[in-house]
Subunit: 758 residues, 2 copies
């Protein structure tokens, strides 16, 4: 590939991007697509439906970019929560560090690479791309100190920025904790592995235990019921409800729904069925003796103060560590009820099984990846494997196989992986949705780094140049050298990968093709003029964080070896910054958040990328026989690892435990303001196992009006909660689940910002 080909490719991709972005700017002005592009807004405000039609609705505009750019950090925090902010900080970090890296590498390293060998240079557009890589520098060159210097500058810059970001985010997390005054989770703990006493129910055992040992701070508790058995009851109830509804067409039914707690929960089936006296009396039916048998050994226990809950969750309770296991509770909307019923004694073995399964999955996924990659090199394959010779005879088949099939297979693989990892994380026994998503995120990162970065490099190396057999990899000493040889030669591939996968994925993210097609399909093919409210989706951190981190890894590892990748990467990150801000502001809702727990993941992955960059550079300096550069790189690696350890000591504990003094001060303030009573009353009803979560449950107090309109839509509660489960699992093919029109509410007063402008 030469420079002009690369530029052509970049041009084509730029045009695609600009086109898609323009299309988006038009689409978002169409009132009929409001449900696709303003899920977040829909969930928040009552908007007017039909604006006036005007020509300006068809003219592309850059207004959304401006809006995304102008949104302040506070606004983003309000809408997307701390996690969104952390994700955007990761993007900003990447922009900053790669700006520095681009400057250094393009003006210092690139010329050195280009003039690294005495050779006849063609005109720049005709020049092959590998002339710009470190592969072009001759062995023993005295100019390798410049690469080493660039390595130092990039590493130091990255570490400094990481430090400030980590410090900043730690502060934000602390402030977030201190500001979340009305969070019921602060007062609540999840008690698992309650021991079974013959004569008592679990509930009695909990009462006895806590009123014995935590008499002064224990408030009350709430048992968790076996999901399966109660769910069956719920389904029966739901059927009854439907029959009832369709038979009598009583429209005022919704207004009778009982509300459960202040978490914005809506009707339970039981309250809807209040006409039948034997199942009536709302929650009290759960306390019946028949349900007692369906209690699982898990309970939510509420305390009078935050500090008491914190302390109870951190101490080892019983001399038998397999009983009375106490964890801090997730938020009501974050809690993952079905995993709460998993017996605690199985959790450890599940966890081991999942870790083993994940490792096997990640490693053996290498086989299809390598196979797919090797298809690109069909001509070389033909020499090695005679089986492919027949295929090679037919030209059109060859084109199909080399040009089209690999990327399709690759894309399919990439869409399969996050749901599978999500399934693994579910099996692992996470008790919160955010925890499950974070765990998935980590697994996907491992997967991508191994199967996208290493597998491609090694396949390239094996097929293209060095005929390395997989068996050679057994020896760990070979790996730096192998990487050092392979990375510069695969840099071209990574460049096009950034251009296509990176840029195009952002366009896809923006235009949301799948919901868009579904919307159009329903509207124009099925001629269903009802507005479709898709389930609102939470931000897919488990696919987006790994993607951004993977591009970061590519950037770091290629920076001094093949600096040409950096400008494209920088463009990617700037676009990502705008697009993700826009999406957070408009599309995704924040039902739950982890409180910035993604940052340690980002930090650790970035440190891994840095060290990998340095190890590869070490290998390159070794191959190029530059002992000075080699010698200077070793302390850099040690310093980077020490820096990481320092950050782990200095910041990470805040992400593992909640600082006690903050809780004490919050308690004191509540006491001082006399809010304590009120809060305690609220928390006792905050957690409802058998209720549909409202669409914007976090913001109950501010947005009571809009919530009432959106909540009471008559969606059967457990259908909605099933959607929540599905949503997370099918996240990469986002918005695949749709509610049947009849069950969907009609927000009739949409007032969208763009429509207002007009």
């Amino acid at each position: 590939m030469n420079v002009s080909a690369l530029l052509t490719s970049a041009g084509v991709n730029t045009i695609i991007c600009v086109g898609v972005f323009s299309l988006y700017s038009v689409f978002r002005k169409q009132p009929s697509l409001v449900s696709v592009y303003f899920g977040q807004k829909l969930a928040q405000v009552c908007a007017k439906r039909h604006g006036h039609f005007g020509i300006e609705r068809l003219v592309p505009s850059a207004g959304w970019i401006l809006k995304a750019w102008e949104a302040s950090e506070e606004e983003l925090f309000d809408i997307g929560g701390l996690d969104a902010l952390v994700f955007l900080r990761a993007v900003v970090f990447s922009i900053r560090v790669f700006t520095v890296a681009s400057t250094i590498c393009l003006f210092l390293v690139l010329p050195l690479n280009y003039f690294g060998k005495e050779m006849e240079h063609k005109l720049i557009p005709d020049e092959q791309l590998n002339v710009f890589t470190i592969g072009n520098v001759k062995e023993g060159s005295r100019w390798l100190w410049a690469h080493c210097l660039a390595l130092y500058i990039i590493s130091c810059c990255a570490c400094l920025l990481l430090y400030f970001e980590y410090r900043n985010i730690t502060k934000m997390r602390v402030a977030h904790i201190a500001a979340s005054v009305s969070y019921p989770s602060h007062f609540t703990v999840v008690v698992r592995a309650i021991p079974w006493v013959e004569e008592d129910s679990y509930s009695d055992t909990v009462t006895k235990f806590f009123s014995n040992f935590y008499a002064s701070s224990y408030l009350s508790h709430q048992m968790v019921y076996n999901f399966g058995s109660v769910q069956k009851l719920m389904t029966d109830a739901e059927k009854m409800y439907k029959r009832f509804k369709y038979a009598h067409q009583e429209q005022h039914c919704a207004s009778r729904l009982l509300r459960c707690g202040f978490c914005g929960g809506t009707a339970t089936s039981f309250s809807i069925l209040s006409e039948e006296p034997e199942i009536s009396r709302g929650r009290s039916s759960f306390d019946g003796s028949d349900l007692r048998k369906k209690e699982c050994g898990t309970a939510l226990v509420f305390f009078r103060t935050r500090y008491a809950a914190l302390v109870a969750s951190e101490a080892l309770q019983s001399p038998n560590p397999m009983t009375w296991v106490i964890d801090s509770a997730p938020e009501p909307c974050d809690i993952f009820w079905s995993n709460l019923c998993v017996p605690y004694r199985l959790i450890w073995i599940r966890r081991i099984a999942v870790v083993v399964a994940s490792i096997f999955f990640v490693i053996f996924f290498l086989i299809p990846v390598v196979f797919t990659q090797s298809l690109v090199h069909l001509d070389k394959l033909k020499k090695m494997l005679p089986f492919f010779k027949d295929i090679g005879e037919r030209k059109y088949l060859e084109h199909l196989i080399t040009g089209y099939l690999p990327s399709v297979i690759f894309m399919i693989f990439m869409y399969i992986v996050p749901p599978i990892m999500m399934l693994f994380s579910t099996l692992e026994g996470a008790i919160s949705r955010s925890g499950r998503k974070r765990s998935t995120c980590v697994k996907v990162i491992c997967f991508l780094i191994w199967n996208l970065f290493f597998a491609i490099i090694l396949t390239e190396a094996a097929i293209e140049h060095y005929q390395v057999s997989i068996l050679d990899l057994g020896n760990p000493k070979n790996i730096p050298n192998l990487l050092a040889r392979a990375v510069p030669s695969t840099a071209t591939f990574f460049m096009t990968y950034v251009l296509t996968s990176g840029w195009v994925s952002l366009s896809c993210e923006l235009i949301q093709p799948f919901p868009l097609i579904c919307n159009l399909f329903y509207r124009y093919i099925l001629n269903n003029k009802d507005d479709l409210t898709y389930g609102t989706f939470t931000f897919p951190y488990h696919t987006e964080v790994p993607r951004v981190l993977l591009f970061g890894l590519l950037g770091f590892t290629c920076s001094i070896l093949a600096p040409l990748i950096l400008p494209f990467l920088l463009v990617y990150f700037v676009l990502a910054y705008l697009v993700y801000r826009n999406q957070i502001l408009n599309v995704y809702v924040t039902k739950y958040q982890s409180g910035g727990l993604y940052w340690p993941v980002v930090h650790n992955t970035t440190i891994f990328s840095l060290v990998l960059m340095q190890v590869i550079a070490l290998g390159v300096f070794g191959i190029k026989k530059s002992s000075v550069a080699f010698g200077f790189t070793v302390p850099l690696i040690i310093c980077t690892l020490l820096f990481n350890e320092y950050c782990r000591q200095r910041f990470h504990p805040v992400f593992k435990k909640t600082p006690a003094t903050i809780m004490i001060e919050m308690d004191r303030e509540d006491e001082h303001c006399g809010r304590m009573e009120e809060i305690q009353q609220k928390i006792e009803s905050a957690y409802c196992q058998f209720t549909s979560k409202s669409l914007n449950s976090h913001k109950t107090t501010q947005q009571n009006e809009s919530k009432y309109e959106l909540d009471l839509t008559g969606i059967p509660p457990n259908l909605n909660s099933k959607l929540e489960d599905l949503e997370d699992i099918t996240a990469p093919g986002k918005r695949t689940v749709q509610l049947p029109g009849s069950l969907v509410g009609r927000p009739t007063h949409l007032e969208l910002d763009e429509v207002q402008v007009k």
Copy 2:
């Protein structure tokens, strides 16, 4: 080596052992050696000095064996604490498991090995030892299922026993915690990294913080002073004291010493110097404004209840995890004051440095070990390295080098290692003596396993049979095969190692040669008739636990490969059981204990040994081409690892954290009995930074009388505390430090049990 040679060697060693044991039984009856063999008793009781002389004092007897055997577990617990009991349980576990292993292997595996190949057998005494190893079984033998069965039985038996021991010891630990009502450490936490506030002293900052956040439970605190600066003050004071003492010869000085706390602390220099008014008023002089500058950012904080202290030590206090670091406090006699002053921000880097240094030390110690080992094979070395040819010419030199030098070098190395590891652990920043000793113990175990087991096997393999170069070891897949080939052939060496190092080390432990010689030297050469009280020593867990575990490792790995080792090992463990019981009962004192924290170390090492045994067996079955046995071994390894994980979940948390409910119940009981006030008064004076620890401080309440006699000996306090430091570091060459006669007290009423019997 053939069987008769082995039996001869065993016979010689038996005779040596019997001789030494008899000698010991005579020596221990000599009143002049009381200080050597009854350090523990000396520290406890007032004994009469001079018994009657009789012929029975010169007749060997087995009475001590009977006494050691008969001592009950309660007695051992009272004298040696939980750690001693745990150590003895480890020995008992070894006896049990190797009894089973011996039975299985001698009656099932040994005959199969012996008749494994069709060959002409000589008479048993002339048979070579390798005929009894698995090396003698022919490839593809159908009888390898028996080895696999033996492997299963030994593994299952070991796991079962380990499980019961772990459960038992967990119970004992819990009971020990619940029984230790008057431990001041339960009420105390160590606060490190107190932030420096410009206008306040550290002490004021602590007061403010705890009376702000822990107002209801905070009792008081005690600052830790910079050891260096105060020590200088102390030394000056001591000089003054000496001058004062020798000038006036005031013998009644000792009776005036002020006592500090109930921890059995004795005089501070300041109280001795109470004649000089400007330094007088005991502890109050520490609070002077000049000393305020010598405060380091560490304090001991006392709480009103155990639960409050526990909770404070487990929570993360401040949003900055590098300030207000709270750990649970060690016992007053266990605390390691000088490490408390190490700035907390340096601890993590010290820890990393020590880990790196330890790894380097362990790995590079391989070089002298391999060199030493290779000297044994001088004839083979001569072929490989021409340098040795000249030496080989002179016969006597060769004998010296092959027969004598290696073991001497080896012994010297082995005596150097524990003090170096202790030094490492000190630098690591352990705040308790028991923690430091445990950390040393772990390091020594790693060292022994690597440098004694692996290094010897690999050296043997390299020189003797397979010409493996060190570079081949880079590939981890080779290691099981290599071990499988090398272990049977090194079994002979290990057998003699057990006979010599194992049996002889027990004799040494019993007869305590170094203190004995010192005693005799003082008594008969220097003609110093004064009795010598050596510093009493705590049990050297950091050398003895690793030794027992190493022999366990040898037993497991050799059991099915070379079962002849097992009887010798069993004898070793039985002797160890008797000898260590005797030593715990008579020689060592228990100044501090870790509360059974050695058991997880024992457990993990045993699991490691088991897995290693299985992996080696896997390699052997692979080499012997027995696919059935190979296939059956794989699930065994997985099950063993799962079992370990289960134990880690089920028992280990109790060894990391203290169960909260126990603390709450203890608090409640104290409250109920009205002891709380009294205890709170005591704890405030329990910790004295500048005092000599009494010899048997734990048993203060029971043994007040004897303590008074032993404590007030006028030893300058910091000289004694220096001795304590030295004692731990120089432990393998035990009792090297002696007090000058003039400073040593005279316990004049010794009543030893044997003397009483007469």
